[in-house]
Structures are given as C-alpha cells and as structure tokens.
C-alpha cells in the first residue's frame, strides 16, 4: 500500500521531508518506521519516538490501511 507519513521536529531532517508518501508491504507504524530508518541509514530511535495515526497517539503495532495518515513525533523540546 501507499501511506502518507507526516514528520515533526528533527525527524524532518532525518527523513528529509515534512510529509512523504511511502510505498510499503508493512502494515504497522513500527515496521514502516524501521523501513524509513533503513532507507535513510538512520539509527532506530523508536524508544524515544511516538507514533500517531490521524493526529491521535497510537501503539507501534496498530494495523494501518491506506486511509490513515501516519505521523512520528520526536521527544519534546519545548519550554
């Protein structure tokens, strides 16, 4: 499937874009995130990063379909 991915904060730098459309056989945030890491030769930071689906926090293992917008939030650095 093709899934839209939104990136926030420093993940825009890591993955080169604010938003991208990703072609994948995977169907959950964790596997898709790991595909992105592999593609960009970036370390797995899933312990620190939070996945969201349609602007709502979700589990890494939630099943996705093409209607969903997936997002990755790096650790907060406000204040």
């Amino acid at each position: 499937m093709k899934i839209t991915i939104e990136l926030y904060g420093r993940l825009k730098q890591t993955f080169g874009k604010d938003t991208l459309v990703w072609q994948t056989e995977a169907d959950n945030p964790k596997d898709i995130y790991l595909e992105l890491c592999k593609h960009h030769q970036s370390a797995d930071e899933s312990n620190f990063i939070k996945p969201i689906i349609d602007d709502t926090f979700c589990d890494w293992t939630t099943t996705l379909d093409e209607t969903h917008v997936l997002g990755f939030l790096p650790p907060a650095s406000g204040g």
Binding site: Y8, R10, D55, F57, A76, S77, G78, G79
Partner: protein
Amino acid sequence: MFTLTEQKIDHNMLTEKVKNKRSGAFACFEGWVRNHNHGKSVTALHYEAHDKLAVEVGAQIVAQALKNFDINHAHCCHRVGALAVGDVAIWVGVSADHRGAAFAACEYILNQVKAEVPIWKNEYYENGESGWVEANHCC
C-alpha cells in the same frame, strides 16, 4: 488550561486567567529565549508544535496539577513560530491559598510540559547554522 499562541506572551492577560479573591499566592514561570546554548550564540529560534496533541497533552498536565496540588487555578501558554532573544517562550501561572503548593504545582507543570508536550525547538546561531534542539535543558 493550556494554550498555544503565535503572539507575544502577555503576562497581565494570562494572570487574569488564574486570578481570584481567595488566593493569597501566585507563582509564575517564564522561559526566555536566551542568547546562548551549548556554547553557541543564539540569534533566534522557531518553535513548532503538533497543535492538536500539544493542546490535549498540555490540558491533561494542567488538570493533573489541579488534582495533585492544593491550588485554585493554573494556566500554561506556549508560544510557537519565530521568536527573538529575550522573548517569552513559555508561561506558567498558578494561584493557591498558600505559597508551597503554588510553587510546587508551577514547577510540576513546567517540567511535564517540557517533557511531554509535542513542541520542538529549532535554534538559529550566529555562525549561520541552525539545528533542532534535542533534549531541552535551556531553562
């Protein structure tokens, strides 16, 4: 309550949100954009938020503070967009009958917001570089 704003943070307006006649104590914190970080000269910075989730998570933190501490009102406002050195990035205000709870709740809200609310800081340096700030120990 927790709010985001693109405007300059207005202390007097925000203080009105927590003001009441039974409170004897008001503790307040402002995070200011400072001119240095990790040895680099900072000229400006930009805060980006996930607006919907920032407001949700921020409101949960303020609600939790109202449960955890003996306080009357609390408010936190975080600025987003472009800020200059000296600008206020975050404002936390708490009113309470007594000072101990006001200070404790104010510090709690600040720490939780910095750790949990999806807002990210991109700093611009004098040498022309810029960078997303990783862990934020700025204030």
